[in-house]
Symmetry: C2
Subunit: 272 residues, 2 copies
DNA sequence: TTCGAAGTTCCATTATTTGAAACTTGGTTT
DNA sequence: AAACCAAGTTTCAAATAATGGAACTTCGAA
């Protein structure tokens, strides 16, 4: 599990597996710690780490002899975020939505079987992106995750479901594929879904998918709150407004074309 | 030029070269466009793009048949940004500095031969990270770039200089290695450097390196303004305050240990 | 000085990548 | 509607690069 990604992607897949592994520690790590967790022999792990470091995908701290994800990733993510036809376009829409409803708004996409938050707006709070965007969460027990899954085509959904852990976080967590599939049908028929404290106690949300005209899932939008302050019925009232925002984002995302910048050189390493 | 990175890094290096290439277009691209620019034969480029896409390092838009940097990068960059011992630690310091001096503050690191901005604070403006952090610029004609280069050890400096383009942006741009080296000596003896409209007209800045106790370059800090509003002498007055901030960041970065989180599972693909 | 753990290198074997060419697909012209 | 063309995809033997067991080097601790 979690090997699935690299199974058939040769050397590159294996190298990226090591990269993910380093990132998964959430702190700088020594070579031996990586080795311990990796499925490859010493020399192989060593060579991958060397390569990744020389490539700037990992950074090495010589004082502490530790590796961490490298800053080249920050540059690449900048490109990813800007070019993802969702996040930059959605920004003004969700900003308005957050101010409008006075609650936290999340924008998420599916990264394989996980929910990846690509933007988050807390009304009245300055935006702190890197500390928020990039976070991942489980798909089967979050509003955005379920909203997206509800609109996937059968075989893609099967893949995603197969990778869910169904770890029980709270007494409301959907703990089985059957429970989840039933919920997804429900969401699909309503057009929106809830998180009923399934991931964290007191945290509830309404979530809607962002769909293209053809029905492809682009992402999901949610309004999050707490049972200490409000309830599901009150959140449900916001659905039309969220739906409008989701439609606006989908519309913009689909019609968006990158301004045909004459070209592109100089974005890479200095050219000459 | 720009090949240097992958020269000896085998398959993984080549794949990452393709990834960089796609990112360098700054817009979603078709396979044929990538092929045109790549140094590899059709089948090879094709296979790399397939692999990268299946890995989530690239995303594919089936409607438009285009590739763009994938969201997996956003997740990885999140880890990179949080773990880089600089950016998250520096945030409160530069935030205070920006408010204190009332001008824009940049925090940058070296990504190979380029300057990579990892944070930016504009006083009185909400923070919009992904749209700012991740941007790259030339090292030889920016304040932060020169400040960092001034403190590199000889051979590393030689490598970095060899990759500068010395493109002339303005009439003040340092256009040769000699001019640059002279300037670097100057900066090193002063402890700080300027950008004298070398990159963009009217844009000036003072920049200081962020150094470990042992003298290793962690990054650089700059206060940027415009000749329409102020001048170099006025910026120079801020040096002590910037210096203090740089010292504080270096101090925090060096003493910082990741809170020994018991462990780390579940950061990767769902664990089960 | 000895010991052991962590990190690094070696190199014959093995598996993967390579890329020219052939093929398929989908759209456009005659 | 047939022929054409460009873009994308697959194939397969040869060439190349990855593999990993084992030996070697550091470096800090006993």
């Amino acid at each position: 599990m979690s090997q699935d990604r690299s199974k058939s992607d040769g050397t590159v897949g294996k190298a990226l597996e090591i990269l993910d592994l380093v990132a998964s520690f959430r702190r700088p790590v020594r070579f031996s710690e990586v080795l311990e967790r990796a499925d490859f022999p010493k020399a192989t792990v060593y060579r991958f780490i060397q390569t990744l470091t020389s490539q700037g995908m990992l950074s090495y701290d010589p004082d502490r002899q530790t590796y961490a994800p490298g800053i080249r990733l920050v540059r690449l993510a900048h490109a990813a975020w800007q070019q993802s036809s969702l996040a930059p376009i959605a920004r003004p829409v969700i900003d308005k939505l957050a101010r409008d409803v006075g609650e936290t708004v999340h924008l998420a996409q599916l990264d394989h079987a996980q929910v990846l938050y690509v933007d988050k707006i807390v009304p009245g709070q300055p935006i702190e992106m890197y500390s928020q965007a990039g976070k991942v969460g489980p798909a089967y027990c979050t509003g955005v995750g379920k909203a997206m899954m509800a609109y996937l085509e059968a075989d893609h959904l099967a893949e995603v479901i197969a990778q869910q852990s169904f770890h029980v976080f709270t007494e409301h967590t959907l703990a089985s594929e059957e429970a989840l599939r039933a919920e997804l049908l429900d969401i699909r028929s309503n057009g929106y879904g809830f998180d009923r404290e399934e991931h964290e106690p007191h945290i509830i949300c309404v979530a809607l998918p962002i769909l293209t005209k053809r029905g492809r899932v682009l992402g999901a939008l949610s309004v999050t709150s707490s049972t200490l302050r409000t309830n599901l019925a009150a959140l449900e009232v916001l659905v039309p407004r969220i739906s409008e925002a989701a439609a606006a984002i989908a519309q913009d995302a689909e019609s968006w074309r990158f301004p045909d910048q004459p070209n592109t050189q100089s974005a890479n390493t200095a050219k000459g």
